[in-house]
Symmetry: C2
Subunit: 263 residues, 2 copies
DNA sequence: AAACCGGGTTCCACATAATGAAACTTCATG
DNA sequence: CATGAAGTTTCATTATGTGGAACCCGGTTT
């Protein structure tokens, strides 16, 4: 599937356990595996002994291991965006009292890297490490809109265009028109396109040279707010996004100016 | 180091990047690597192409990849403790207005799997996935106290007994006496043993048959509360721990015990 | 401008490690 | 106690990983 020799195959197995979503037996994995019995068995042994999987001997089931949590913590910490954005997101969430998301684009999908719940939490689809569709979320559209042409084309080709609600854009054409609007406007709306009753405003996070770092959004439920009300927060959202981009740049690309002057 | 053939070696490289803590160049990794140039290079290529690492071509540096965040999210979701405990922890934090931690024991270390901060309601990977010492934290001692003898001995042998504060227990003997106290009392204190000014009460989460699932704690700063005040919360903490244990057991019946086959 | 340098990348003969069919071991069940 | 389904081990075969050496390329020195 993904090639890359033995390591790639082992990671395929890991992914398969992840995809199953709950403790899974050897036979279940074998049934849908591309690998023969002994090979699959060996991979599971290796991954378990490495702590990437955990084996429950009583139920004879495999689950993802805690080593992944440690690694992900390290990944989050050394990412250029999330740790820098944290204090800004805290502040924005406290000021607005709304749910705030921070996301990055990962293989044409939205990957949420941080989140702050409102005081009255809205029960909805979201959490760090979770992935979501790009074509029908505020952060997703905000990022697609500022993607360079070749990458945008590739990303568009990978969207599923499933109709979640009546407002979901379900064709590349209508989505592209929307992205054009977003580019002009500078920020994106989610008008109940993913979940009924849930709306948001989303702002891309861009470097000076307009390279896309990620996006952030303020989300609300229509039961307690309106899109117009959220829109009043746009200036604050934009300022926050700008501040994050500035700091990310200073931290991650400290020599950018220097190199530029020499070039 | 960890053997397990090619996969193990690749994961060693991944761990090395994680340990470095910031974007790292090929040459830096090579200098402290057990692998020859070409081999290390190939592993980095493979891991990058798999999304376990990310490569920044401008700076020629490697960082941990976003795939780890997705996998860790899945790991968290399919763990038997954390997702079940979540609503209880929400409630406890809301009721007490204090910081609440949920932890599991991982190789004689405390692994935090969830957290609620009074001011910042949800912080995913900033807190979850973090590891800490067992011998000088509330959750750590609560778990050690209820570990079966052979495992306790092994865990004790792996503690560093670094003196963080004047109150830190720095010998196995004094710690064991403390653990005996905890067993009798049923819950643990942290009396500024890890950080000056920070105290907590911690409760183990045990199955009916006293198998250890994890621990949870309520933490406060001495600037705003006292240990005595926190102690009033013990009944509530105990009820919550009991409720979590019950539900964990119901969903994932009898004594479940995650086994890491690492020797 | 030619020689040099050092980090990064590619090559390829060789050796190790992965492979998977088949045999074997449990353990539950009729 | 025979039957089978699920899990584990074996081992000859071969695919894969290995790593020394050569190469590339931008930058620096002579």
């Amino acid at each position: 599937m993904s090639g890359d020799g033995t390591v790639g195959k082992a990671l395929d197995v890991l992914e398969q356990v992840a995809a199953y979503g709950k403790p899974v037996r050897f036979a279940t994995l074998l049934a849908e595996s591309q690998f023969p019995k002994a090979t699959l068995y060996r991979f599971l042994q290796t991954l378990t002994s490495q702590g990437m999987l955990a084996y429950d001997p009583h139920h004879q089931t495999y689950t993802l291991g805690v080593r992944l949590l440690r690694l992900a913590h390290a990944a989050w910490t050394q990412s250029s965006l999330a740790p820098i954005a944290r204090p800004f997101i805290d502040r924005l969430s406290a000021e607005t009292g709304q749910t705030v998301h921070l996301a990055q684009l990962d293989h044409a999908q939205v990957l949420y890297v941080d989140k702050r719940n409102a005081a009255k939490p809205v029960e909805m689809f979201s959490a760090a490490g979770k992935v979501g569709p790009a074509y029908c979320t505020g952060v997703g559209k905000a990022m697609l809109a500022f993607l360079p042409e070749p990458e945008l084309a590739k990303a568009l080709a990978q969207q599923s265009f499933h109709r979640f609600t009546d407002n979901t854009y379900t064709t590349p054409e209508t989505l592209c028109a929307e992205l054009e609007e977003i580019r002009k406007r500078g920020y994106a709306f989610d008008r109940e396109e993913h979940e009924p009753g849930i709306v948001c405003i989303a702002q891309p996070i861009l470097t000076e040279r307009r390279r896309l770092l990620g996006a952030m959004s303020v989300t609300g439920a229509l039961s307690s707010t309106t899109l117009e009300e959220l829109e009043h927060l746009v200036p604050r959202l934009a300022r926050t996004a700008q501040a994050i981009a500035d700091e990310a740049q200073a931290w991650r690309f400290p020599d950018t100016h220097f190199q530029h002057m020499r070039a």
